[in-house]
Structures are given as structure tokens and as C-alpha cells.
């Protein structure tokens, strides 16, 4: 063990994570090397002082900065849930428009072949949707948004289309 090795092992030596055999070697070196004894002492003191003087080393946040930040962030945070609501409402609107367009295409026979196959498959197992679309096709009524349950089925149908695939005939 020499001074150079000791200097580079000092952190492990002081935090107690060192193998006891190497520690014994270091102890032995420090006991007979004044330079290393002082080096280790001042190294340890450096760490201790940095911790002790935490308060002096810290940067105080100036009052006006604190006021500005608080005012800005509190109002930004208040707006944030509002923004979330806006996004959610917009997503809902887009979804409803899509469902409406799907119903129109279904009535007018303008579904893409993929969408038509999936629609037929669904209607075969879902009496409620079958009834709804049969009525819709025969009534020639004004299209409006289907009731919640039907709407959810249509959404699921739309979601199960392959990505990028449109539900209507181009």
C-alpha cells in the first residue's frame, strides 16, 4: 500500500464499505505516514464541512421569485384540469361524429367491404344492433346518434378495424 493507492481508496475507507483486510493495510499505512494521516483527516473534514454548512451553501430563493413562481404555477395548475376536460370533450365529439358517419354509410350501403363483413358478423350475434339498423334502413328517418348501448358496439367495431383502414367505400 502506498500514498497514491490510499488517496484513491479513501472514499470507501471512510464510508465503511471497504474489505476489512484492505482496511487493515490502510490503517497500517496511515499509522506510519504523516502525510496520509493529514490527507485523510482533511478529506474527512471537507465532507463534514460541506454537510455542516448546508445552510450557508444553499441558495435562498428570493421573495419576489417565490411570489412570481407561486402565482404562475397556482393559476397554471388551475387551468390544467380545464384543459384535460377540453381534450376529453373534443375526443368525445370526434367519436360521435365518426359513429354518425358509420351509421349513414351503413344505411346507404357505403361501408367498405371489411367494415360490412364485420358489421354483418356483429349483427348476427347482437339482436339489439340488428333491430336498430333494420329500423334505421327501412325508416329513412333522419339520422341521429344511436342510443348509448348501440353506440358503444359501433365504437368497438370501429376500433377493431385494422389500423389505417377506413370504414367507408372511397
Amino acid at each position: 500500500m502506498n500514498c497514491k493507492e490510499l488517496a484513491y481508496l479513501l472514499a470507501d475507507y471512510l464510508d465503511g464499505s471497504m474489505d476489512p483486510r484492505i482496511r487493515a493495510e490502510l490503517d497500517e499505512h496511515i499509522a506510519r505516514c504523516k502525510a496520509c494521516m493529514i490527507f485523510a483527516k482533511t478529506y474527512r473534514l471537507t465532507c463534514r464541512k460541506a454537510a455542516e454548512l448546508r445552510g450557508d451553501i444553499h441558495y435562498e430563493i428570493p421573495d419576489e421569485v417565490q411570489e412570481r413562481l407561486t402565482a404562475f404555477l397556482v393559476s397554471a395548475a388551475r387551468k390544467f384540469p380545464g384543459q384535460m376536460d377540453d381534450y376529453r370533450r373534443q375526443a368525445e365529439r370526434e367519436c360521435e361524429e365518426k359513429v354518425l358517419a358509420f351509421c349513414r354509410a351503413a344505411v346507404e350501403g357505403k361501408l367498405s367491404s371489411m367494415a360490412a363483413i364485420m358489421m354483418d358478423g356483429h349483427i348476427a350475434v347482437c339482436p339489439k344492433c340488428r333491430e336498430y339498423f333494420v329500423v334505421l334502413r327501412s325508416a329513412h328517418a333522419d339520422l341521429c346518434l344511436p342510443p348509448r348501448e348501440i353506440l358503444e358496439h359501433v365504437v368497438r367495431l370501429l376500433e377493431s378495424l385494422p389500423p389505417g383502414e377506413e370504414f367507408f367505400l372511397v
Binding site: 472514499a11 493529514i38 464541512k49 441558495y59
Partner: protein, 202 residues
Amino acid sequence: MPATDRWKEDEGLLERLRKGAPGAVEELLRLYQGKIFSLAMSILKNESDAEEATQDVFMTVIRKVNTFKGNSAFYSWIYRICVNTCLMRLRGRRRGDTVAIEDFMPVFTEEGMHASPVDDWSKEVERKALNEELGKMIRKFTEELSEKYRVVFVLSDIEGLSNEETAKILGMSVPAVKSRLHRARLYLREQLSRYLQEGKAD
């Protein structure tokens, strides 16, 4: 006070932030604004930069509080956001005003002995009257370190986080943190040594 105790209030706060409860943001700021500003200052070393960074940090915290997974401590999550925000700001900025840490590493002879006498300044440092001045000097010397070492030193030795926590915040391994921390301490020891020697000569 150990870091873990300082942040005990976090759990309830987190819940209230997620719910958007009134006063939650104010509480968050009361607990962390000073800490985050100080950390940003020690990385960015400029008050208006630190203010902007602090603002960005809390905006990110408020926006992402729902995505925060409880697998790390809340404060270490905030610290990580702060360190990332500050390092992003530093990127691309000219880095001129830091010292070369190599100039402050101990020098050894070929036989591995100390090449120059090692001065014992422990007695001077213990003088109470010197404390305030010493705090200023440690801050100044820390500011002169390149951020690679500065951030580790600030988190570990000044903020008092464990090496494991620092490693987690910085996304580094524990040995890498230890090695940087050790070099930063060697540097600071040498700086203090030179500074106190000068004081003696006056």
C-alpha cells in the same frame, strides 16, 4: 435530519395533487420550491435561468403527477425532473467558466508517495468565526466544478442524499457516483487547502 424524514408529508400530498385538491399545489411549492430553486441554482449558476427551470420543473410535476409510479420516492422523482431540466438547459450553452479538475488532484512521485507536503488545516477550519466565510468558499469552489462532478457533489454531500439515491436520480450506477463524488471531494479538499494556506500567508 435524514432525507427520508424530511419528506414524510409526501404521501398525502401526492394523493391530493392527483385529485387536484385545493391548496395541493401551494403545499407542493411550500415544501419544494426552495429546494428545487437551490438545486437549479447550483447547476445553472444564474438566477433567471434557475427561476425558469424551477417553473418548468413544477409544470412537469403538475402535468405528470398521474404518471408517477410509487416505486421511487416522490422527492427523488422531483429531483430527477429538476436535474434533467437543468442539464437540458445547459446543453448547447458554452461551457467556459469551469476549472479542470485534474489540476486539483493529488500529485504523487513514481513510488506513489505524496509529491508535495500535505498541509494540516484542520485547526483553522474548526474556528467558529470562519464558518460563514467557509460556506461561501465551498459554494464558490463548487460552482467552478464542471457539472459532471458538481451535480453529484451537490446531491450527495450538500443535499445529503445517499449514493444509491443520487445514482437513481441521475440514472447512473452507484460505483460511477462514488467515483465522481470522490474526485469532487479531492478537488474541494485541495481548493480549501490552497485557500487556507493563502489566509495563513496574509
